[in-house]
């Protein structure tokens, strides 16, 4: 009690430090623990975003010490030149076909896997496996299968008296081939996610439907499919993002991009495929980035909504 009047003035006269020593120590520790990662992300994710836009305004040969600022000429060249039509068409066809293909087959595989059967754990793992495998390895394997002379597909076609299509020479067949392999590699991802969503469908709903005499197909159309719609939307966005950035399979199966030059592949070819056109490549990257950004914005909006409702 006698101490109180003495203590009070000391506290009052000493200016309260804005940041206590303890807090300062915590901030330092935060810096030590988090700074390296944050710095790396800033350096190799955010900085390139800006640099890439700057590069896109240059007439610049990769490796050359000099560059000339040419404003939007690269974009003008891309959109008015002969490239845009073929590249955008290839990108569109590839994206629509791979997204549609992996989602539809993913759904089909999920229905097949969603039954209490012996061996379905193994089947589920097998179906998902290609998704984690190297695109280069998978691309090589399928290159042999599709080979018009020695491939097993050609052999099977010969057995029924048909001759193999020229998968690697005809641009539209090349595109078809890469789409097929891409779907094969990615459908397991859609299947596993659809499977999890299907199993979250309340059992009593299904039992009630069965009681009312609804068959499998009817139950699926009227009950399961509507309940899967958030999952379908999620998959739609993620698979579009993935397809737009597809690279490995295209590079290994059709190195020249004959019919398979999507925006992503064109941007690679222009800078690193022998043309060394850095500025032009950056412009194509930027076009692709804007498309991806729009998709991501939709996705962020979706996540926000999910968090609200969760």
């Amino acid at each position: 009690m006698s101490n109180a009047p003495l203590a009070a003035p000391t506290v009052a006269t000493r200016p309260r430090p804005r940041v206590s020593r303890r807090t300062l120590r915590e901030w330092t520790l935060f810096g030590l623990l988090a700074f390296p990662n944050i710095a790396l992300i800033l350096m190799f994710v955010y900085r390139p975003l800006m640099t890439n836009i700057y590069y896109s305004t240059l007439d610049w040969t990769l490796g050359s010490p000099t560059a000339r600022v040419i404003g939007l000429a690269n974009y003008r060249e891309f959109f008015t030149g002969p490239d845009a039509a073929t590249v955008l068409r290839a990108t569109g066809v590839f994206t629509v076909a791979t997204v549609g293909g992996s989602m539809l087959l993913g759904l089909l595989f999920a229905t097949v896997l969603n039954r209490r059967l012996v061996g379905n754990t193994l089947a589920r793992a097998t179906v998902f496996a290609p998704y984690v495998l190297s695109g280069v390895g998978v691309g090589l394997v399928w290159t042999f299968i599709f080979d018009p002379v020695t491939g097993v597909l050609a052999g099977l076609l010969r057995a029924v008296g048909l001759s193999s299509p020229q998968w690697f020479l005809d641009p539209s067949l090349s595109l078809t081939m890469v789409i097929l392999v891409y779907v094969w590699k990615n459908l397991g991802y859609c299947a596993v996610i659809y499977l999890a969503a299907m199993q979250a469908v309340p059992r009593d709903l299904l039992e009630a439907a069965a009681m009312d005499g609804a068959g499998r197909v009817r139950t699926f159309i009227t009950i399961v499919w509507p309940l899967l719609s958030p999952t379908s939307f999620f998959l739609l966005l993620t698979t579009i993002l993935g397809s737009l950035q597809a690279f490995d399979l295209i590079r290994i199966m059709t190195p020249l991009g004959n019919g398979t030059t999507t925006l992503m592949y064109d941007s690679y070819l222009q800078a690193f495929g022998g043309y060394n056109r850095a500025g032009y490549s950056a412009a194509i990257s930027t076009v692709l980035f804007v498309i991806l950004l729009a998709m991501t914005a939709v996705q962020l909006h979706l996540i926000e909504r999910r968090v609200h409702y969760a």
Binding site: E26, W27, L29, F30, L33, A34, P36, N37, I38, L40, I41, F44, V45, Y46, P48, L49, T51, N52, N114, L117, N120, A123, A125, T126, V127, A129, V132, L133, S134, G135, G137, L140, T143, F144, I145, T150, G155, L156, R158, W184, Y189, V192, I193, A196, Q199, L206, A210, G215, T219, L241, L244, Q245, S267, A271, A282, S285, L288, F289, T296, L300
Partner: protein, 313 residues
């Protein structure tokens, strides 16, 4: 009464809550049902269940099996116009001649170095960053997390050319650090671990703090040990993606002393345009695919959980 309506599932959930609620909830649990349709007949089960299941599995497994068979064939068998199903005299000839044409040991070593160093660093960075974001006070912490979250969505293709120019300028072409460094910042692992750390019971950590355990002690003695499943998930997904990584090592290396396996295979395919190299390339494909396949076979539930993260609430 309320417990009855909540059902056994939520009872289990509450029991597990104290450990890793987030992981348990996020890991995709597979429960099989028959779609609620009445008792199936044996024939119905076979035709409607097993046949489609077998077909689905074969569609995926056959090409991979074909690859394995092919790598044991002679080039004569592979090139034959008549499809040879099984190699007549299984041999490692393809593997031998593959390693004669391209230094597979070297490529394998390079891939291993890049994968081990890269993923180890990324996992450590993810753990420390997530810990800082969850358990330490820092002004603007939420914004930092948002920045990391957005980085997760930035497509890597836009950073290729600028990062190439930057790393090449520093002399990083054909070096291990040049391959590893640009990918080290980890948004995925940080995000996953942060979500998990948020779910840890605060009371235990607070009790430890009262007992005088500092942050580093709490991180290494408590947070890390009780988070092993999530850390394993992050580690496995990181390892697989580092091993498979293609476009960046392809751009930043042009000498086979530093190439990773996928890049080396590209080189082999470019050099060997003629089909006689097919068994060799198949052997190469096996060397790049099989390690991941083996890891996946044993630890698939972690990998699936990590890769399907965020898809299912």
């Amino acid at each position: 009464m309320s417990i009855d309506t909540a059902g056994p599932a939520s009872g289990r959930a509450i029991a597990h809550q104290s450990l890793s609620r987030q992981v348990a909830r996020r890991r995709i649990r597979i429960r099989f049902d028959d779609g609620g349709v009445g008792r199936p007949t044996l024939l119905g089960t076979i035709v409607g269940g097993y046949v489609p299941l077998l077909l689905a599995t074969l569609i995926i497994a056959l090409p991979l099996g074909w690859m394995v068979l092919g790598s044991f064939k002679t080039s004569g068998e592979v090139l034959s116009q008549h499809v040879v199903l099984l190699p007549h005299a299984p041999s490692f000839a393809a593997y031998r001649s593959a390693s004669a044409q391209i230094d597979f040991g070297r490529l394998f070593l390079n891939s291993t170095i890049v994968t081990v160093v890269g993923s180890a660093t990324k996992v450590v960075l993810a753990i420390t960053t997530a810990y800082a974001l969850v358990f330490l006070r820092f002004p603007g912490k939420r914004w930092i997390f948002l920045g990391i979250l957005v980085a997760l969505m930035v497509p890597s293709q836009v950073s290729l050319l600028p990062n190439y120019v930057f790393i090449a300028g520093l002399g990083g072409v054909n070096t291990y650090w040049g391959i590893i460094l640009p990918g080290l910042g980890t948004a995925f692992g940080t995000f996953l671990l942060r979500q998990h750390f948020m779910s840890l019971p605060r009371e235990i950590l607070e009790a430890a703090e009262i007992d005088g355990a500092g942050h580093l002690m709490r991180l290494t003695r408590m947070v890390i040990p009780i988070s092993t499943p999530t850390i394993a998930t992050v580690a496995l997904v990181t390892i697989v993606s580092e091993w498979n990584d293609y476009i960046w090592p392809l751009i930043i290396t042009n000498d086979d002393s530093r190439m990773t396996l996928p890049v080396g295979l590209t080189l082999l395919k470019n050099v060997e345009g003629d089909p006689s190299s097919y068994p060799i390339l198949m052997a190469g494909a096996i060397v790049v695919i099989v390690p991941v396949l083996v890891v996946f076979a044993f630890l698939q539930r972690y990998i699936v959980a990590g890769l399907t993260q965020g898809a299912v609430k």
